[in-house]
Amino acid sequence: MKGEGADSDIVISSRIRLARNLTHYPFPMLSTNQQSEEVLEKVSDVVHDEDLKMISNFERIPLSEINSLESKVLVEKHLISPNLAEESRNGAVILSENESISIMINEEDHIRIQCLFPGFQINEAWELANHIDDIFEAKLNYAFDEKKGYLTSCPTNVGTGIRASVMLHLPALVLTQQINRILTAVSQVGLAVRGLYGEGSESLGNLFQISNQITLGQSEPEIIHNLYSVVKQIIEHERTARAKMLSESKTFLLDRVNRSYGILSYAQIMDSKEAAQRLSDVRLGIDLGLISNVSANVLNELMIMTQPGFLQQYASKKLSSDERDVLRAEMIRERIKK
């Protein structure tokens, strides 16, 4: 994903996910093999819809037809969930050409429509997801209830079935130790905050994902507007903190950014945690104009390419953790010095 889109110095990506289920079929957790196969067929058929083809060419990938490394890469690119990769029966993903749209079949719900855009484009992502939802709904009978809305496997998704989330890079708020205060405030207005790799994980490389918690009793535009305005405020706080650091402690900042750039340029062994932190520092240096010989796109790519699954696909074999650390360092050296 290229570093385009609004506010892309701080917002890495914007994502909308809609959870939908078909009537008359048990949810994937309880469906028989035959039932999940039927769901897979019915949903897959929509790929041939003319309206869908107008949006993009789509490729359908059944999880049974790819190996565990390939599915791991899809997880690291945030195109499928770990759940679909590891546990699903008759699971598949329908991917658009540029990979901004991924539709999971037989995950926790029968259908999960996901639109992932670079930068702060949450409204654009919602419009596209909503349009794709309409196309699917014209062909399939959704499980829907007048009072409960879209019926989902988990009660935390019922109603709109929407999860709107934004990935933010907030190094200055972390460095100036304002982050906890802000994140606590965020969790008090019905939004959830997570580290890079979802539930339960700590924040890696100062990346935070903010998403709506409530799906019932608020309309989709209300949910998105709420997230949008909170994220806008966080962006302003991060910008202020960056400007303040730049004016008050430029030497400290220059030292930190250049030190990380130096390490990334010359290190021979690099574990994923250190890589995430160093890449975050350099990314901050680029955004503040302290480093000009590397592009933000290269940094975005490296954030994904230095993940374990990606490295192993690159090497075309399974690698031990030590081997990965060596390859990671090599890959970073090559790309960052270009």
Partner: protein, 172 residues
């Protein structure tokens, strides 16, 4: 922030529930959060939103007592899942569970979402009637306010609009 259970480790999980405008927060470290939820067999880390949800269900003594007092096993007639199984895994078996579990479910949805009635998108095809019903409800509210303001000409227009929608529902 420190975990409110063990008072030891930093809290990794922050959960806010809002019931009738009253806010309660949980701040737990990962290991305490894991202990609070039963692990799902086969789940990779034994920790997920479902575990958390079932953990919250366990937090609620009134909930447990209610179910026990009824002494009747609540079961979804469509897929066979019992309410106590749902409480353990935090997931429904099918869309009919929402009907069969509606008594204990409504308070749960209120706890999770602060609300139990959907106001968002309606599917265009299967939701035709529902859409009209919602429009009528909104128009009736508007009608009442026009009557209160003694704007009878406007009110008459709204009344006609309501009638035509009601006509559409009976034809659908």
């Amino acid at each position: 922030m420190i975990c409110q259970e063990c008072g030891n480790k930093p809290a990794a999980l922050h959960f806010t529930k809002i019931v009738n405008g009253e806010k309660t927060e949980f701040h737990l470290c990962e290991s305490c959060a894991r202990e609070k939820g039963d692990s799902i067999p086969g789940a990779p880390n034994g920790f997920s939103i479902h575990n958390l949800l079932s953990g919250i269900l366990e937090f609620e003594p009134s909930m447990g007592q209610n179910v026990k007092q009824q002494k009747k096993v609540i079961r979804c007639e469509n897929c066979g899942l019992t309410y106590s199984q749902f409480r353990k895994i935090g997931r429904f078996g099918c869309s009919s569970c929402y009907n069969h579990f509606s008594d204990p479910l409504n308070p749960l949805l209120k706890r999770v979402h602060g609300n139990s009635v959907h106001v968002g998108k309606i599917p265009k095809i299967s939701g035709g009637k529902i859409k009209y019903k919602r429009q009528i409800k909104d128009l009736k509210k508007e009608l009442q306010s026009k009557i209160d303001l003694e704007e009878f000409e406007e009110a008459a227009k709204l009344r006609d609009e309501i009638r035509s929608l009601e006509q559409k529902i009976s034809e659908a």
